[in-house]
Symmetry: D2
Subunit: 421 residues, 4 copies
C-alpha cells in the first residue's frame, strides 16, 4: 500500500520558493542519496510553479505566460529545467532521482491554467474543451494561475482533465503529488478532492497524494482519510517558536487519525539553510532545543517529514538531528500516539505525550513549553506504567533503570523523549 | 444636483435579460416618450452584457469573446446594437433617446474584462497596462466576465482605468450608470466604490450613479450616501408575493436614509410583459392589488422607480398603475417617510406607513399583508393627527371628511393610501 | 390616552440610588411644583427598593428583610417613608404630590419577593399561594430581591399576583410604574410583559407603564409598542461623553417608533447635583455644551424626560436648560424625527437630525461630535428645503433669514438646533 | 491513588429518580455483594435529593422544606432513610455497604440550600453566616434547591462551607461524591470546582470526585483532569439508540483524556428494570445488541461504569452483560483507546475502535451503526498489524487464527469486539 509509513523526504519550498531549478534539485538529490537515504528519507519534491519561467522568489506574478502543452497541461519551464526540453516533462529529472534509489515528487495547484480556459484548448483523450470544464468562479485566493474545475456541473469533463494530467505525471515517473489550494477548501472542493483521488488511482502508477494547505477541517477527517495519503493540518509552518508552540494544539486535534497510509501533515521542517532565494546566509531561527522539540513532536505524531532546508549546506547538528536512529524509530514504530496532559508545574508549562511502541514498550515525550530550563519528577503512573523499567533517552541514547519516577531536566522550548520497557 | 428626486425610468433586465437589442430599446424609448414622459419617467437603461454578442437569456456564458476596444474597454456588440458600428459606442442610441426628451443609461460590472488582463492591453491615457491594474483574485461570483481592480495596491492604475471608461461613457452621452457586483461587497469593494464615485465626478457629465446588487449593508449607509445616488437594498426582486412581503422589512431598515439625491433602491418593478426572452406571453404574476401595494411602498419610501416590463405590451391597468398622479405626487413630495406599526387585527396583519407631504398634510398607507380582505377603523391619533380633516384616497381620488377614525376596507395583499390635510 | 406626549418628570435614582426617603421626595416635589410644572414637567417617581429598610446607596444587599404585607406585596419601609404607617402604603405621599398638581410614580421589580415564595404567602383575592406562582429559576442578575412568576405554566396565578399589586398601586393613587428587569429580557419575559400590561389595564386607574432596563431589543419593537408606554433603549445612562456619544446610535435605531403614547426611552438626565448619597458636592460631569446636546437629542427623539438630579440644588444654568420653551416645544411638536447623515467635515464629525414641526416648518439639529469647535455651511437642500426661510436658533431664540445655506458654528460636543419656516 | 481504574458500581437515578429509599439501596447493595463484586463492581451511589422528604419521581418540587442541620448542611430525610435518625446522617447506611466489602457514594448539588441562606444559618467551624456566602444570582436552571457560593468574592467563606460538608461526608464514611450542576457550567463555576476539589483533598478520607452534568466542555479538559476523577461528557443518557449513536462522537472527542485516575464519564448504563418509580414493569428499551454496543464502547473508552437498573430484577442476559470477563478485562487493560475510522461499506455505517492491551496485544471493536445486519472483511493492516495472529472474540470467547483479514458479521446496532495477539 502507498505510504504505509509516513513519507520522508525533501521539498524545495522553504529554501527556493517558486524559483527552484534543476541544478538545485539534483544537488539535493545527491545529498539525500549519500547522507540520508539509509535513514529512510526518500522523496525529492519540486514545489510550486515549476511551469513559470519568471519565478524568482516566494511571490507570484499574475497573468504570467505559464508553460503548457496543447492540452492545457502545465509542463516544466525549460529555462529552469533544461532536461525537460523536447517535451519530455520531468522524465529525465525523475530518472535522475530514481537512479539514486529515491522517489520523485511534484507540486500542483488544483484546476487548470486560466490561460488554457481563455484559449479554450482541447482536453486530451476527450471531446471536452477547456471552456467547458474550467469554472471561472473557482479561483485560488493566494495564487493567480488557475481556475478550479466544474466538478459538479461537468463531472465527466473535470474527470477527463484530471485523468489527463495524472497520466502524464505517471508517464514522467512521478511518485508523489502535492495538490495545493484544496485541503482547507471544504465544502467547495469536496468533489474535486474525490476526482483527484480517482485520477491517482487510475493513472497506472503508485503515487502518494498529499493535500495542502491547512488547516484542513477536523470535521472532514474521514473524507480526507478516504481520499488522500496526507493532508496539512496547519497553514504554512516556518521557523518561529509561536508557530511551533501552536502546533501542539493541531497535533492533539489530529493525533488519533494517523495510521495505515493516512497521515496528518504538520508541514515541512525549516532546518538548516532556508530562504536561500533572498540570502544564501539565511539559516533557521530555531534553537537546537526547538529543533529537537519539532522533530520529536512530528515523529511521535507520525507526521510526514519533509526537509525544507538546502541540504548541501547542512552543518553537523542539522544532519545529526535528521539521522537520530532512536527518534526515527519512534516515527516508524509509534502507535496510538496522543497527549497525556498539559499543565503548569515548577515554573513552566509542560506537555506530556505518549505512544505505544509496536515492538513493545511505551514512548514518552515531555516538552518544556516555557521560557526557562526546568526540572520535573514524572511518576511512571502518569503513563499508567509500573516500575522497575528500563528507560532509554532517545536523543542521547543513555539508558537508565527507573522505579517510581523519571527525574527529567528539560531546556527552555526543549524536550525529553524516552522509551520505557 | 444629480438625482435630486428619485430616478424614474425603464430597465431592460426583467423583460430581456442579457439579450436586449437596439430595436427593443428604441421601441421602449418611443413608448416612454409618448405615454410616460409627462408623468416624470425619463431614464432608458440598457442592462448587463450589451458587449456580449451571444447573450440570449438571463444566463451568462463563461469565457465568451466580449467586444472591447484596444484599451480594454467594453463596447456594444454590433450585432445587437448596429448603431454602434464604426466605433461610436452608444452615441447614436443615446442621441435617439435624448431626441425624445429622455435620458440614457447603461449597466456595467465593476472591474475590467478578464480578457483585457490576460491580453495585457494598455490603459488609455496612462502608462499602466491591464496586468498591472487587474486583480486576479477579485472576481464576481455570479458573472464570469471581469476582474476587479487593484484599488488598494495600485490606486493610480485603478483610477486611470475607471476614468478611462467613464470619460468614454460621457462622450457617448450616458446619463445613468448602474454598477453591478459592488453594493453588497463590503468591505472588499469599499475603495472601488470611492474610485468609481470619483470617476463619475471627473467625467465631465452629470451621471447618476446606481450601485447593485443588494442587500447593501445598512452599516454602510453613510458610505453609500456619500458615494452614490442610489443603491440596492435587496437582492433581485421579482413578481412573487413573498419577495414583496419581505420588502417591507428592508424599507423599514432604510427609510430614514432617503433624501436629497440619495435613494435606497427597492429594485425594478416587474409589471406587464416580463421574461419576454423565454415566452412573449409571459406577464407579471402579481395581482392588481399587489401591484398597487408595490407602487405605494416604493413611492412612499421614495425608491427609484424603474419599470421592468416590455412597455409596448402594456394593458390599460399597467399604464394606469404607472400614471396615477396622486401616487406619483407622493413619490415626489413625501418627506420623513417611515412605518408607524405592524400589528394583527381583524384577522389579518397590517402595516401602517406615514410621511409628511412637502406641500402640507400627512400621507398614510395601510397595507393588508394577510390572505383575505379586511376592514379597519384607524383613529387619526395613530398618525398623531386630530380631525376634522379632508382625506383623499390616492388610488381612487375620492375625497372625504374625517373626524375621529378612517374606516378602511383593504383587499388581500392590497393597500389604502391617502393624504390627510 | 395615557402618555399621549412623552412623560416628563423627576426620578430619584441618579441622586439617591436605592436610599431615597420621604423628605427628599417631598422637597423635590415642591421644587417641581414651583419651578417646572408650568413647562410640562409633572411626574415624581420613587425609584428602586422603597421597601428595603436598610438601603443606603446604589448597591443591593442580598437576603435583606423587605417590608411586605400578608399577601407578599412589597410596601414602603416605614423608617424611610413615615407617611406609610398604618398600612397606608404610598397613599399619603401620592396625595402630597397630587395636591401640588403633579403625578406620582414608583419603581418595581418584576415578580414577587423571594421571601414571599419561601414563606408561601397567600395571593390576595385568589386561591393561589406564592409557591405556586413564583418561578425559582427566574431571577434578576443584578438584584437579589425577587423571583419572576410562572407566566406560562401558571398564567392564572401569575395574573392574580400582578392584578393584586397593581390594584394596590391604583388604590394608593399611583400614576406611573417603572417595571425593572424586564425590557431587555426577551424572549423569557415576553409573557410577563403582557400580564403586567393587562394588570395595568385592569387596575382601574390610568397608569403609565415604563419598562426597564435597556437596551430593549429592536426586534421586539412592535411587542413593546403594543404593551408599554415607554421602554428603555439603553443600559443605565450616566454623565460620560462616551455614553452620550453612543446614544446617537440608539436614537437612530429607535426614532421611527416614537409617537402616540409609545416612547423609546433614552433614560434619565443626569444634570445638576447627582450621586448625593455619596457626596453632597457631586455635580454632573457633563459640560454645558454636552447638556444642551443631550436635551436636544432627547427632545427631537421625543424620549421621555426624567430629571435625575436633586433639584433643590439646581443652579441657574440647569434650571434654564430644562425650561427653554423652544426646546420643549420641539419635544412636544416634533414629528417623524430621524437622523439625516453622519459625516466628517471641517476637521470634526457631524450628525444632522431633522423632524417636521406639527405646527409647520422643519426642525434641524447639527451636532458636533468631535473634540474641537467647528464651523459648517449647511445647504438648505440637505434638509430638502429651499430658501428664503426664517431660521430660529432654539437655544438662543435668535431669528435670521436664510437663503442658500445655514452658517453654523458649533462647540465641541455641542449642537446648533433650529426651526426653519 | 483514588480511582486509579475507572469506578464501577450502581446509581439509584435511572430506576428511582429522586425518590430512592433505604430499603431499595440495601437490596441493591446485597445484590452487588452477592453477584457483581467479584467482577470489580464496588460503588453504591444514592443520587439526588436524599434530603427531600416528599420526593416521589424524577421531578423536583420548588420551595420544599429540605432536611438540614443547624449549619445549613443537608442531611438524609429520615422518612426515607430511617437509619439516619438521631442525626447520624448516612453513617449506618455507609457501614451497611462497607460491611459487604463495597463503597458508598452520594450525590450533591453545588452550593448551599436556598433555605439556609434565607435563614442566615451559621457555617460550621467559621465566623461566616450563610447570607455572606450564598450567591443569590447563582442558581441551577433545572433544580430549585440551592444557591451557588460566592467563590470569588468570598472565597474564604465558600471554602468554609464546602469544607464543612465534605468533613461531614467523610465522617459518615462516604467514598464517592457526585457533584451536580457544575461540569458544564464553565466559566462561571471554574473556581467552585477548585474549592470542591480542595475540600475533597482536605476532608481526611479518600473520596472519588465525580462532576455532572455534561457535556463538559472539551476546552476545559486540563482543568477537569486537574480537579476531578470523572466528569460527564454528555447530558443525561437514556435507553434510546439515537443517544447511543451520538455517544460515539463524544467518545471520540474525549478518548485521549482517559487514564491515571481521570475518566471521561459517558453516564449510567440504563439496563434491566429502570424508571421503576413509574411502573415496576418498565425495562430498558435497548436491544441486546445495543447493550453490547454500549458496554463495548464504555469499556474500550474506559468510562466509569455505573449501573442504572434495579438489580434485584435482573434477568440472566443483563447479569451476563455486566459480568463478561473479557469485556471487563478490556475496561481494565485498554490503553491509548481511540477510533480508527468511520465509513460506509457493505450497505451500512461502520465505526472501528482500537486500543493497546496493557498485557500485550491489540483490542479492536467494529460497530455496525446501521439499520441492518452486515458483514465486513477487515484487513489487519487497518489496525497496523500483520498476521498470523490469534483473535479472541470478546463477547463469545471464541478464538481463531487470522492471517490477512478478519471476516466479521455484525448485527444491526451491534458490535464485534476482539483481542489480537
Amino acid at each position: 500500500m502507498t505510504a504505509q509509513t509516513p513519507p520522508m523526504g525533501w521539498n524545495s519550498w522553504d529554501c527556493f520558493g517558486a524559483a527552484v531549478n534543476e541544478e538545485q534539485v539534483k544537488a539535493n538529490t545527491d545529498y539525500i542519496a549519500e547522507n540520508l537515504k539509509e535513514y529512510g528519507w526518500e522523496y525529492v519534491v519540486v514545489d510550486i510553479q515549476w511551469y513559470q519561467p519568471f519565478a524568482d522568489s516566494h511571490e507570484y506574478q499574475p497573468f504570467s505566460e505559464l508553460v503548457m502543452d496543447a492540452f492545457g497541461r502545465l509542463i516544466p519551464a525549460p529555462n529552469r529545467f533544461p532536461s525537460s526540453a523536447n517535451n519530455t516533462g520531468f522524465k529525465k529529472l525523475a530518472k535522475y532521482v530514481h537512479d539514486r534509489g529515491l522517489k520523485f515528487g511534484i507540486h500542483i495547484m488544483r484546476g487548470m491554467p486560466r490561460m488554457a480556459a481563455h484559449k479554450d484548448l482541447k482536453i486530451k483523450d476527450s471531446d471536452f474543451t477547456a471552456k467547458q470544464v474550467a469554472d471561472p468562479n473557482s479561483i485560488c485566493f493566494w495564487n493567480p494561475d488557475m481556475y478550479g474545475l466544474k466538478c459538479e456541473s461537468n463531472e465527466a469533463g473535470a474527470r477527463a482533465y484530471y485523468d489527463s494530467i495524472f497520466k502524464m505525471y505517471a508517464s514522467w515517473g512521478v511518485d508523489f503529488v502535492k495538490v495545493d489550494d484544496i485541503a482547507r477548501e471544504y465544502p467547495r472542493c469536496r468533489k474535486e478532492i474525490e476526482l483527484i483521488h480517482d485520477a491517482v488511482k487510475n493513472c497506472g502508477r503508485d503515487i502518494v497524494l498529499s493535500l495542502s494547505p491547512g488547516p484542513a477541517p477536523i470535521a472532514q477527517a474521514e473524507h480526507l482519510k478516504a481520499n488522500a495519503n496526507m493532508w496539512r493540518i496547519t497553514d504554512d509552518f516556518w521557523d518561529e517558536w509561536r508557530l511551533l508552540y501552536d502546533m501542539f494544539d493541531r497535533a492533539e486535534t489530529w493525533c488519533i487519525h494517523a495510521g495505515n497510509g493516512r497521515w496528518p501533515d504538520a508541514d515541512m521542517l525549516p532546518v538548516g539553510p532556508i530562504r536561500q532565494v533572498y540570502d544564501p546566509a539565511e539559516r533557521t531561527r530555531f534553537t537546537q532545543a526547538e529543533q529537537r522539540t519539532m522533530m520529536t513532536l512530528w515523529c511521535i505524531l507520525r507526521s510526514p517529514l519533509m526537509i525544507g532546508g538546502e541540504m548541501t549546506g547542512f552543518d553537523p547538528f542539522t544532519l545529526g538531528l535528521l539521522t537520530n536512529r532512536n527518534i526515527l524509530d519512534m516515527h516508524r514504530l509509534a502507535r496510538h500516539s496522543h497527549p497525556v496532559w498539559r499543565r503548569r508545574a515548577a515554573g513552566t508549562e509542560w506537555v506530556l505525550w505518549t505512544a505505544a511502541c509496536a515492538e513493545g514498550g511505551t514512548y514518552g515525550a515531555l516538552f518544556n513549553m516555557g521560557e526557562g530550563d526546568a526540572q520535573l519528577a514524572l511518576p511512571l503512573e502518569e503513563l499508567e506504567l509500573r516500575g522497575p523499567l528500563s528507560c532509554t533517552d532517545l536523543w542521547t541514547g543513555r539508558q537508565d533503570a527507573v522505579a517510581g519516577s523519571l527525574q527529567l531536566t528539560v531546556e527552555k522550548h526543549g524536550v525529553a523523549a524516552f522509551l520505557l520497557r
